[in-house]
């Protein structure tokens, strides 16, 4: 049975125009029933719809913002910002050291794919964590989340921006692509395609954090979301996302795009599963690997490539 996340089903966007598409409530309920997810179906049954059975877009937007606001609390508690800086700091140091940043003098640009409410980008901006030469951009297909992320950034006077649209269609190239909690949304060939798109871009590296697929992950997700989140949709999707997490082998296999050296930080064998709830898969241009390892210092021992991990992808 596939594990579905309700938030994936109740919003739909035209990938080309970015326009909002209507979503029929009974269709979402049918898909959840087919997946054997009666609890998820009950949650969707309670969402408002018009006479034609189309989910109320304004209500869905409010719900998505509320759930993402609650979700941010988990990111705050797990110190996601610090986790990113732990890897991104050395990565940008390596990029600066190799002076391969397109054309020299061009600002470095970090693009957060599927930025949601933009917590990561806003946190980095608020803490000046990557330095003033790094432009911070969040991109998401959900216009409501992008709008709220921009409002929050303006309210706190943060130096960052948010864009509604496709992260690979931006007018200015990214230096580094990042994401948090996005990878498990891609299934099958879409996962490798996601990495290939970045390898084919002018970007020098990517660094995508996602849930570590340990046996503890679904249990931990249940406890954590039960304790911290109020809305049943957030609790439901939190556990579903832990069940959908990709294995280390799958991620490294998919990230092996042409022109990128795939690396995994803190794979299962090297990390305490209680401490490593999220960890990144990286891709760096081959000339960046050595400077990155130097910049990471002792922490570089936790950085492994496919040849060190072995095993067949799931």
């Amino acid at each position: 049975m596939p594990h579905l996340e309700i938030s994936d089903l109740i919003t739909a966007t035209d990938p080309h125009s970015g326009a909002r598409l209507p979503v029929r409530r009974d269709e979402v309920i049918r898909r959840l029933h087919e997946a054997g997810d009666r609890r998820g179906a009950r949650i969707v049954e309670a969402l408002p719809a018009d006479r034609q059975g189309v989910l109320d877009p304004a209500a869905v937007d409010r719900l998505m913002i509320d759930v993402h606001t609650e979700l941010q609390r988990l990111s705050e508690e797990l110190r996601i910002g610090e986790r990113l800086v732990h890897v991104l700091g050395p990565l940008f140091d390596a990029i600066r050291a190799t002076a391969v940043s397109a054309g020299g003098g061009t600002p470095l640009r970090l693009v957060d794919i599927g930025s949601g409410l933009g917590y990561v980008i806003r946190w980095l901006a608020a803490h000046g964590a990557l330095g003033p030469d790094v432009e911070l951009v969040g991109v998401d297909l959900d216009s409501a989340l992008v709008g709220e992320a921009g409002r929050l950034a303006r309210a706190e006077g943060l130096d960052c921006r948010f864009v509604h649209g496709n992260a690979f269609d931006l007018p200015e190239a990214a230096t580094v692509y990042v994401s948090t909690g996005v990878l498990h949304h891609f299934r099958g060939p879409d996962l490798a395609e996601f990495f290939r798109a970045q390898a084919a871009s002018p970007a020098l590296a990517f660094c995508h954090f996602d849930i570590a697929a340990t046996r503890l992950a679904p249990v931990g997700a249940w406890v954590f979301h039960r304790a911290r989140m109020r809305h049943p949709l957030g609790r439901h999707d939190g556990v579903a996302s832990a069940r959908r997490a990709h294995t280390d082998e799958t991620l490294l296999h998919a990230a092996a795009a042409p022109g990128m050296r795939p690396l995994l930080y803190e794979p299962r064998g090297l990390a305490n599963p209680f401490c490593t709830t999220l960890r990144p898969v990286l891709g760096v241009r081959p000339e960046l690997e050595a400077p990155l390892r130097r910049a990471m210092g002792r922490a570089a021992r936790r950085l492994v490539g496919p040849e060190q991990l072995g095993g067949a992808p799931r």
Partner: protein
């Protein structure tokens, strides 16, 4: 220390735990409703709101205890019984508070990896265990020799502290903190 002699200390310890728990309840009622990055003042305000609501609600067990003592035929004996019950009530709460304190110390003072351990193995599960700990405290007060009177006071106290978070949430934080309820759309490529 005799039961009677220990009464003020037990009462003080229980009141302190109740008030600290109320402040944390205020924080929990607020947490997850405000997506700003810098919010220390808002956190302090939420904790104070929890403390204020808890201070009022905790008058209920105090009044219940007073009522039990004042209506008892043998006030000294009832007083002593309630003190024994208070000690029995305190024991599970003290263990729980110690675990929370330890987890909080680990969370605030250890590096981020170890602080994750404090959250995943400590603070998260401990939040879920809170009602069970209060139930254990009620049982403890009865088993220790506090009898029905202590069970009554303990149950009222437990209900009071468990009500703080939902009351603060309902009154101040039931809606996420947004100035504009209708999010503005940003066009593609903006």
């Amino acid at each position: 220390m005799t039961a009677l002699g220990g009464t003020p200390a037990v009462a003080l310890a229980l009141a302190a735990l109740g008030l600290v728990d109320s402040a944390f309840s205020g924080f929990r009622a607020y947490a997850g409703r405000d997506a700003r990055i810098r919010k220390h003042r808002a956190v302090a305000r939420a904790s104070l709101r929890g403390l204020a609501v808890g201070s009022v609600l905790l008058l209920a067990p105090v009044l219940t205890a007073c009522g039990v003592v004042l209506t008892a035929a043998d006030r000294d004996r009832t007083y002593a019984t309630l003190t024994e019950g208070g000690i029995g009530y305190l024991a599970p709460l003290a263990c729980y508070a110690s675990a929370v304190l330890l987890s909080l110390a680990a969370y605030f003072f250890l590096p981020f990896r170890a602080s994750t351990l404090a959250v995943v193995a400590g603070l998260g599960p401990l939040t879920l265990l809170r009602p069970l700990v209060i139930a254990a405290a009620c049982v403890g007060s009865f088993v220790r020799g506090g009898g029905v009177a202590s069970l009554l006071v303990g149950t009222v106290a437990g209900a009071a502290v468990l009500c703080v978070e939902p009351l603060v949430h309902r009154h101040w934080y039931s809606a996420a903190l947004r100035s504009d309820p209708t999010p503005a759309s940003v066009p593609a490529g903006a």
